[in-house]
């Protein structure tokens, strides 16, 4: 059974329509890459999915229930956690408090706790009393991922986690993905870095101007097909 099913989802910012009938399907434990250029609707898709943008109720089904348009806090409690673009740590909270707040709405039953996160990212344990925003970009990204994992979600959404980070740091961050997936967590990875995304995901969809223009498994897709879907040429 599909964990997540999005069908014919439209999303709007006021009068501006940013998604046109987007559909996708994700199984339990699967990793899906969502690629596309700036303004293609990738972040919009995540915003609608997390409840930050209104959506038709049955356009988004999670775990068998229609969740489109529910309040963000309610959707999170059902097991969808988000690593937001730009990390968005809480500046007045320490590293440890940032992690703890991730478990406010739901602690779930699962592997992730302060201890297991400190095992995954040992550097965070050393810095746990520093303000979240005093860390380097890569470390902040680790906090943001850890914060989302604290709820032991069934589905983890990552919005541009490589953005603004040095390649060696990006490698570290992506190095944590297998450990996360090993717990059976499904992952949606929104990325502009296509090579990185294709390397770690089971399937990929490409968005262009609010529409899904390509879907498939990385091995089956040629560079030309991806380029056409990405740029529309």
């Amino acid at each position: 059974m599909a964990l997540l099913e999005i069908s014919a989802l439209d999303a709007f910012y006021g009068d501006f329509q940013a998604l046109f009938g987007a559909s996708l399907r994700l199984d339990t434990g699967e990793a899906l890459a969502v690629i596309g250029s700036n303004g293609a609707g990738k972040s919009t898709l995540l915003k609608a999915l997390t409840g930050l943008l209104p959506a038709r109720a049955d356009a988004i089904r999670f775990d068998g229930a229609a969740i489109g348009g529910l309040p963000a806090s309610e959707i999170m409690k059902r097991g969808i956690a988000m690593v937001p673009e730009g990390r968005r740590l809480f500046p007045s909270l320490s590293v440890e408090e940032n992690l703890l707040i991730g478990g406010w709405g739901r602690t779930g039953t699962g592997h992730w706790s302060l201890e297991s996160l400190y095992r995954l990212f040992p550097v965070l344990k050393e810095r746990r009393h520093s303000p979240g925003t005093a860390l380097s970009g890569g470390q902040q990204q680790m906090v943001a991922i850890g914060r989302a994992l604290m709820s032991n979600p069934a589905l983890l959404l990552c919005d541009e986690i490589s953005l603004g980070l040095a390649p060696v740091v990006v490698r570290d961050i992506y190095g944590a993905l297998p450990a996360i997936r090993a717990e059976g967590t499904a992952v949606v990875l929104v990325e502009q870095d296509i090579v990185q995304a294709l390397a770690v995901c089971d399937r990929v969809i490409c968005l262009q101007e609010g529409r899904v223009t390509l879907e498939g498994e990385p091995a089956d897709l040629t560079r030309d097909a991806i380029q056409r879907a990405y740029f529309g040429r």
């Binding site: 963000a72 806090s73 999170m76 408090e97 707040i101």
Partner: protein, 289 residues
């Protein structure tokens, strides 16, 4: 010399009352960036609530005061959910106007229900007791208790903010409401709890206000002004700063009154303005924002 020590001592103790006025205001502004213009009137409302509980139900004052804590919490919770939530948004004007209207409604409602007569909460003689300190100095028991209550309230609020999960959520919502929602925090409910807490603090302030001086339905806005001045002098977002601000204001007013009774309020306002000019962000501004 004795006079000088006396002025500072009485002023510091008066500052405790102003810090109590200000703590709730500071809390609400800190959590939801809402300036509550009805704050002073809500304090007066709590005082009349205590009065009604003692007169109508015949409850002893301490019982009535304690009962007012959960009552005011409930009023604050309902007020936030039913009245303030719908107007909270990106624009700061609608909530400001709403609390302004609320201020007028409370004043006139109290006038209707209790008349314009001056009232006071009677503690059966406790309010006039004083402790001699020697050397011709004495401090009133009520002012001392007020000051201790202010410290207690501020310690409790600080613990709540920095040592509990609820406080963590308050700070997270204050930092970034959108991301807080993604953490499963229902910020509407959290705001209602914050308003409930703030009005409970109002009840504490009301108890000491009513024990120390007369009150009538119209004195709310002046209490709001003192609360504002204490918060601004202390620096927005710092609870200990709010206590310091209250003390500065209290000492300034007491000193002014010692020079000439007519100068009490003026001296307070002048010191407030002077600090605003010299340190626009207050004495202990928060490092961020």
């Amino acid at each position: 010399m004795t006079t000088l020590v006396d002025i500072v001592l009485q002023g510091v103790l008066l500052g405790g009352l102003y810090a109590l006025f200000a703590a709730g205001l500071s809390l609400i502004f800190g959590v939801m960036r809402l300036v509550n213009l009805a704050h002073g009137d809500l304090i007066v409302l709590a005082a009349f609530l205590m009065l009604a509980l003692t007169r109508v139900l015949g409850l002893p004052l301490p019982v009535a005061a304690l009962l007012c804590l959960p009552l005011m919490f409930a009023i604050g919770y309902a007020l936030q959910r039913l009245v303030l939530d719908p107007v909270l948004g990106k624009d700061i004007l609608p909530p400001l106007l709403t609390t302004f209207g609320l201020s007028i409604i409370i004043q006139n409602g109290l006038l209707e229900g209790f008349s314009a007569d001056s009232q006071r909460l009677s503690g059966g003689g406790v309010e006039t007791l004083s402790l001699p300190l020697g050397g011709g100095l004495a401090i009133g028991l009520m002012p001392l208790l007020t000051f201790l209550a202010a410290i207690l309230v501020i310690v409790a609020l600080n613990r709540l903010f920095y040592a509990t999960a609820l406080g963590r959520a308050f700070r997270a919502v204050s930092d970034d409401p959108e991301i807080a929602r993604l953490m499963g925090i229902d910020n509407r409910r959290l705001f209602a709890v914050a308003m409930g807490l703030a009005l409970s603090v109002c009840a504490v302030a009301a108890f000491f206000l009513g024990m120390r001086s007369n009150f009538d339905p119209t004195i709310g806005p002046a209490r709001l002004l003192f609360a504002f001045e204490a918060v601004i002098i202390g620096g927005l977002g710092s609870l200990w700063g709010t206590l310091a601000g209250g003390v500065v204001l209290g000492v300034a007013q007491t000193a002014g009154a010692a020079l000439n009774p007519e100068w009490q309020l003026l001296a307070g306002h002048l010191v407030f303005l002077a600090i605003l000019v010299a340190r626009p962000r207050g004495l202990f501004p928060r490092a961020t924002d």
